[in-house]
C-alpha cells in the first residue's frame, strides 16, 4: 500500500506535533536556551491545536489501517494538544529553578503528546500499543525528571520505577489479550472482535474470546487506574513533579479512555455478559475505593489521585450504558465528561503547580490554609475546580455528572447509579475539606513564594480554564451540539 499526499493531509496535527518535538530537539542541540525551547514547544502545540480544530468539520478518513482521522479523533486531538500546551505553560515557571538541564523535559512532553494523538486516533491494536508505549515511555522520563536534584522534595525515582514496572506488566496483559484475539481472527483491527462476539470464527472457542477481552480490559483498567488496579496511582502522583502528574492525570487518562470507548463501540465486546459484569464491578469498586481512600489523605496530590480513580469509575458507567441505550447519548456522556474532567483536573493541578516549584512542592493540605485571604483569585479558581469535581452546578462538572446520570437512567443501571450517588456524597467531604482549609484564617508564618513574572502565563492558563469551567457550566449548549455531531460518527 502506498501513501500519497492526500493520505498525509489528515495527519497534519500529528505531523505538527512530531515536528515540534524534532524542532525542539534541534534547538537544544544548537543552543541551550530554556525560554526558547519552551516557546517552540508551545507554538508547535498551539499550531497543531488550531489545525486540528479547522480540519474537524471536513475530515473523515481512515489513514492506513492503523489510524482513523474522523471528527471524534480530531476533537480529542484538539483537547490533547491544547492540554499539552497548557501543561507546557504551567511547567515553565515550575522548572525554572531546576538545578539540572531543563530543556529536555519539553522534548519528552512533545513525544508524549505524539503518543496521545496516536491513541485518540487509533482503531487498531497496533496503533494503540504504539501510541500507548510512546506516551508511557516519555512519562517515565517526565516523572523522574528532577531525579538529579539533591533535595528534591519528593521521590521521583521511586515513582518512575514503580510506574515503569507496573505499566510494563499491564502492557504485557494487554498484548497477550491482543495475541489471543489475533489467534482467532487473524487481524488486529478493533472491528475484528465483532467476529469473536458473533462466534463466526473457528478459532479457539468462545471461552478464549472472553479471556482475551478480559486481559485487554485488565490492561486498560491499569492504565486508567480503576480499582483494584489502582495501587500505583497515589504513589506515582505524589512522587512526580506536579506538571508530570498533571500530564499523567489528564492526557494519559483521556487518551486511554478514548481507546476504550472506540474499542467498545467498534467491537460489541459488551455482548459478552462476563465483560459487562467485570466492567460494572470495576466501576463500582473504583467509585467506592477511590472516594473512601481519599477521605483521610493529607496530601493534595494523593487526594486528587484517589479522586481521579473515582472519576474514571463514573465515566465507566456511561461506557456500560452505551450497550443498553439506543442512540449516542452515552457516547456523548463519556465525551463531555472527559472534557469536563480535563478542564477541572488541569485547573486543580495547575493551582498546585503555580504555588509550587521544583524545589518546594506545596502539596500538603496545610499549605493551602488561608489561601482565600492570601491570594483570593488563586483560591477562587481552586474552589471552582474542586466544586466542579464534586459536581456542583454553575460548573462544567455538574453538566458532566448530569450526562452520566442521564445515561445511567436510560440504561436503567440502578445499582451503579446508587454507587455514583454514594461516591459523590463521600467525595463532597474531601473536596470541602480542602475548601474549608482555604477559608480558614491566614497563617502569616508561611508566606507563599511566587515564581515572579514567569508565573504570569501560568495564571493566564488558570484564568482560561476557570472561564471555560463557568461557561460550559452555565451555557453548555454549543459544545453539547458539537459533541452530539461528532459522537454520531464514532
Amino acid at each position: 500500500m502506498t501513501m500519497t499526499l492526500s493520505d498525509l493531509l489528515p495527519l497534519m496535527p500529528l505531523l505538527l506535533v512530531t515536528g515540534t518535538a524534532v524542532l525542539a530537539m534541534a534547538v537544544v542541540g544548537i543552543k541551550r536556551h530554556y525560554t526558547l525551547t519552551v516557546l517552540v514547544t508551545i507554538t508547535g502545540l498551539l499550531l497543531a491545536t488550531i489545525v486540528a480544530a479547522t480540519m474537524m468539520s471536513s475530515t473523515n478518513q481512515q489513514v492506513t489501517p492503523l489510524l482513523i482521522v474522523d471528527q471524534y479523533s480530531l476533537f480529542f486531538t484538539v483537547i490533547t494538544c491544547a492540554s499539552a500546551m497548557f501543561i507546557a505553560i504551567l511547567s515553565y515557571p515550575y522548572l525554572q529553578n531546576l538545578q539540572d538541564q531543563r530543556e529536555e523535559y519539553y522534548l519528552l512532553l512533545g513525544v508524549a503528546t505524539i503518543g496521545a494523538v496516536v491513541m485518540v486516533s487509533s482503531n487498531h491494536f497496533v496503533s494503540t500499543i504504539l501510541g500507548l508505549e510512546t506516551l508511557s515511555m516519555s512519562l517515565y522520563g517526565m516523572v523522574a525528571y528532577p531525579v538529579h536534584v539533591k533535595d528534591s522534595a519528593k521521590f521521583p525515582l521511586e515513582a518512575s520505577v514503580k510506574y515503569l514496572v507496573l505499566s510494563a506488566a499491564a502492557s504485557g496483559f494487554m498484548l497477550f489479550g491482543m495475541a489471543l484475539v489475533y489467534a482467532q481472527t487473524g487481524t488486529l483491527a478493533f472491528s475484528s472482535v465483532v467476529e469473536l462476539v458473533n462466534g463466526e470464527t473457528e478459532g479457539l472457542g468462545a471461552g478464549f474470546s472472553v479471556v482475551a477481552l478480559l486481559m485487554i480490559v485488565a490492561g486498560v483498567a491499569f492504565k486508567l487506574s480503576l480499582a483494584p488496579f489502582h495501587m500505583w496511582t497515589p504513589d506515582v502522583y505524589e512522587g512526580s513533579p506536579i506538571p508530570a502528574t498533571t500530564y499523567l492525570a489528564t492526557i494519559g487518562k483521556a487518551g486511554m479512555f478514548v481507546v476504550l470507548l472506540r474499542f467498545i463501540e467498534a467491537s460489541d465486546a459488551l455482548e459478552f455478559e462476563g465483560v459487562v459484569l467485570v466492567l460494572s464491578l470495576l466501576a463500582a469498586a473504583s467509585i467506592l475505593a477511590g472516594n473512601l481512600l481519599a477521605l483521610l489523605q493529607e496530601n493534595i496530590k494523593r487526594i486528587l489521585a484517589y479522586s481521579s480513580i473515582a472519576h474514571m469509575g463514573y465515566v465507566l458507567i456511561a461506557i456500560i450504558a452505551s450497550f443498553y441505550v439506543e442512540g449516542s447519548i452515552s457516547v456523548e456522556a463519556v465525551t463531555f465528561y472527559l472534557l469536563a474532567y480535563m478542564i477541572m483536573s488541569l485547573g486543580a493541578f495547575g493551582v498546585a503547580s503555580v504555588i509550587s516549584s521544583s524545589e518546594t512542592e506545596r502539596d500538603h493540605i496545610d499549605d493551602y490554609t488561608g489561601l482565600f485571604w492570601r491570594s483570593p483569585w488563586l483560591a477562587l479558581v481552586f474552589t471552582g475546580m474542586l466544586l466542579s469535581l464534586a459536581g456542583i452546578p454553575l460548573t462544567v462538572g455538574f453538566i458532566g455528572k448530569f450526562y452520566l446520570f442521564f445515561a445511567g437512567v436510560e440504561a436503567a443501571l440502578w445499582m451503579l447509579l446508587v454507587a455514583l450517588i454514594i461516591g459523590s456524597g463521600i467525595g463532597l467531604y474531601y473536596y470541602l475539606r480542602i475548601v474549608y482549609r482555604m477559608v480558614l484564617k491566614a497563617d502569616a508564618a508561611t508566606p507563599l513564594t511566587s515564581n515572579g513574572a514567569a508565573s504570569l502565563s501560568a495564571y493566564g492558563v488558570l484564568a482560561v480554564l476557570f472561564v471555560l469551567l463557568l461557561i460550559l457550566g452555565v451555557y453548555p449548549a454549543p459544545v453539547m451540539n458539537l459533541i452530539e455531531v461528532i459522537s454520531a460518527t464514532i
Binding site: W373, L387, A390, I392, P393, L394, F398, F402, F405, F406, V409, E410, L417, I421, I422, S424, G425, L428, Y429, L432, R433, V435, Y436, V439, Y475, P476, A477, M480, N481, E484
Partner: protein, 499 residues
C-alpha cells in the same frame, strides 16, 4: 423579564458587594441592602397583576439537546414566598449590619447569592433549572456557616452540605427518570413542569420516583428522621445565616412538596400520605420534646423549627384546601417568628458570648425591650390566636382532621408542648435570678433603635397575618385550588385506568 431582572440583580449585586469591600469595608452592606430593597420593590410591582394564573413568566431555550429551557414563572404561591424571601433578606442584612465586620464583602456576596438561588427555586418551572437553583443556594450558605460560624462550624457546614447535596442527587435521578419517561411516551425531551405533569407511570415505579423528590424536600424541610443537620447548622451559623436558613431555606422544601412532589405523582402521593403524615406527627412531638431538653438556646429554637415545620408536612399531605392554606400560612408566619427568635438569640450571643441557657436569667430588668420582643415572638410561636402562626397551624389541623383524625389529634398536642418550651425559654432567660458571674455582661445593652425597627416590622407582619389573613389567603388560593383540581383529575384518571 422582571423575573430575570430580579435574579440577575441579586447575582450582580453580590459581585458588586464583594468588589466594593476594597473601596470601603462599610460599603458592601449598603450595596447589599440597596440591592435587596430594589428587588423587593420589583416584586411588589408584580402584585398589581395578580388576576392571571401566571403573574409573570419568561421562557427561553437553554440546553436544547435535552429540551431544557430557562423557564421562570410566578403565581400567587411563588409571589408570597419570594416576597418573604426579599423581606427576610433585608432583615438578615440588618442583623449582620454590625455583627459581620470581617471580610464583609464576601459575606454579603454569599448572602445575596443564597437569596438569588432561593428566588430561583421559588420561580423555576423547568425541573432542570429548579434543580440548578436548588444546588446553587447551597454553596454560598456553606461558606456563610464555614467562615462566619461559631466554634464547631466546620462540622456543621459539612453536615449541612452533605445532607442536602446527597438527597439532592436522589432528586436529580428522579427528575431524569421523569424526563426519560416523557421522552419514551412522547418522543421529545422536556424538563418543562407542565409537560412532565402529563407523564404516566405504571406499577411501583411512580412510588420510587416520588420518593426521590420526597427525600430531598423532607431533608430541607426538615422532617424526622433526616433533620439532624438542622440543629447543628443553626447553632453554628452566624445570626444572618440562621435567619435565612430558618426563614427561607426550610420553606423551599415545603414549596417543593406543594409544587412538585404531590402534583407530579398524585397517585403515589395519596398512597404515601399516611406515612408522610405520621412522620410529620413524629416531627411535631419528638422535636418539641427534644427542644425542651436543650441548653443551647439556638439549638432549642432549631428543634422548635422542625416541630413547626411538621405542621406544614401534615397540611401538605392532607391535600385539601384548608390544609394547604394552613401549610402556606405556617410557612410565612414561621418564617417571621423563627427569624425573629434567631435574631434575638444571636443578639444575646453577640452581647454576652454564650448561648448556654442555664447561665442566663433575670434579663428582664437589664434589657426590658429585648424581653418584651422575645415574649411577643415566643407567644407567636406557641400559636396565640391573633397572630399568624395560630392561623396557619389551626388551618393545617382543620384540614388534616378531614384526612386523618387520629394523627391530627396526636399532632394537636404539639401546640401544648409549644407553649411549654416557649414559656420555659422566657422563664429561663428573662426571669429568675440575675447572675453575672457566669458570663461577661459588660456589653449587655438593650435593643437599639435599628434593631427595634426590624423587630417592629416583623411584629406588624405577624399581627397582619393573624388579624387579616385573607389578604394572604387570597393570593395563594388560586394556585392551590388549581393544584388540587389537577391532582384530583389525575387521581380519578389513575383509578379509572386501574379498573
Amino acid at each position: 423579564m422582571i423575573l430575570v431582572a430580579i435574579i440577575a440583580l441579586l447575582f450582580i449585586g453580590g459581585i458588586l458587594a464583594w468588589f466594593t469591600e476594597s473601596i470601603n469595608p462599610r460599603l458592601p452592606r449598603v450595596v447589599a441592602l440597596f440591592t435587596v430593597s430594589l428587588t423587593l420593590i420589583f416584586m411588589l410591582t408584580l402584585l398589581g397583576n395578580t388576576g392571571a394564573e401566571w403573574i409573570a413568566s419568561v421562557e427561553a431555550d437553554w440546553i436544547p439537546r435535552f429540551g431544557i429551557s430557562f423557564y421562570l414563572a410566578v403565581d400567587g404561591l411563588s409571589l408570597l414566598l419570594i416576597l418573604l424571601t426579599a423581606f427576610l433578606g433585608i432583615i438578615s442584612i440588618g442583623s449582620a449590619w454590625d455583627e459581620i465586620t470581617e471580610r464583609a464583602g464576601f459575606f454579603y456576596f454569599n448572602l445575596l447569592w443564597t437569596l438569588a438561588g432561593v428566588v430561583g427555586v421559588f420561580t423555576a418551572l423547568d425541573l432542570f433549572l429548579f434543580f440548578f437553583f436548588w444546588e446553587v443556594m447551597l454553596i454560598p450558605m456553606y461558606f456563610i456557616i464555614a467562615i462566619w460560624g461559631h466554634e464547631n462550624k466546620n462540622y456543621a457546614a459539612m453536615k449541612f452540605f452533605i445532607f442536602t447535596q446527597v438527597t439532592g442527587m436522589l432528586m436529580l435521578v428522579s427528575i431524569l427518570v421523569l424526563a426519560y419517561f416523557h421522552y419514551v411516551q412522547t418522543g421529545a425531551f422536556s424538563f418543562n413542569y407542565h409537560d412532565l405533569l402529563n407523564v404516566s407511570f405504571s406499577g411501583r415505579l411512580e412510588m420510587w420516583v416520588m420518593l426521590g423528590f420526597f427525600v430531598a424536600f423532607a431533608t430541607k424541610l426538615p422532617s424526622v428522621p433526616i433533620h439532624s443537620w438542622l440543629p447543628d447548622a443553626h447553632s453554628q451559623a452566624p445570626t444572618a445565616g440562621s435567619v435565612i436558613l430558618a426563614g427561607i431555606l426550610l420553606k423551599t422544601g415545603a414549596y417543593g412538596l406543594i409544587r412538585f412532589a404531590v402534583p407530579l405523582f398524585p397517585a403515589a402521593s395519596m398512597e404515601f400520605a399516611p406515612v408522610a403524615m405520621t412522620l410529620a406527627a413524629i416531627s411535631i412531638l419528638y422535636c418539641a420534646k427534644v427542644a425542651f431538653a436543650q441548653h443551647d438556646i439556638k439549638r432549642l429554637i432549631a428543634y422548635t423549627s422542625v416541630s413547626h415545620m411538621g405542621f406544614v408536612t401534615l397540611g401538605v399531605y392532607a391535600w385539601n384546601e384548608q390544609a394547604l392554606q394552613g401549610a402556606v400560612m405556617t410557612m410565612l408566619a414561621h418564617g417571621l417568628s423563627a427569624a425573629a427568635l434567631f435574631m434575638l438569640a444571636g443578639g444575646l450571643q453577640h452581647r454576652i458570648h454564650t448561648r448556654n441557657m442555664p447561665d442566663m436569667g433575670g434579663f428582664w430588668a437589664k434589657v426590658p425591650r429585648m424581653a418584651i420582643v422575645a415574649l411577643f415572638f415566643s407567644v407567636a410561636a406557641l400559636g396565640m390566636p391573633g397572630l399568624g402562626n395560630f392561623i396557619g397551624e389551626f388551618l393545617a389541623l382543620l384540614g388534616a382532621f378531614q384526612a386523618n383524625i387520629w394523627l391530627t389529634v396526636v399532632s394537636a398536642f404539639g401546640l401544648i408542648f409549644a407553649s411549654v418550651y416557649s414559656l420555659w425559654v422566657i422563664q429561663k432567660v428573662f426571669q429568675g435570678e440575675y447572675n453575672s458571674s457566669k458570663f461577661d455582661d459588660s456589653h449587655l445593652s438593650d435593643l437599639s433603635r435599628r434593631e427595634m425597627l426590624y423587630f417592629g416590622a416583623m411584629m406588624i407582619g405577624l399581627v397582619w397575618m393573624g388579624m387579616y389573613p385573607q389578604s394572604f389567603l387570597d393570593l395563594s388560593a388560586g394556585t392551590l385550588s388549581g393544584l388540587l383540581s389537577a391532582t384530583t383529575d389525575a387521581a380519578v384518571a389513575a383509578v379509572e385506568v386501574a379498573q
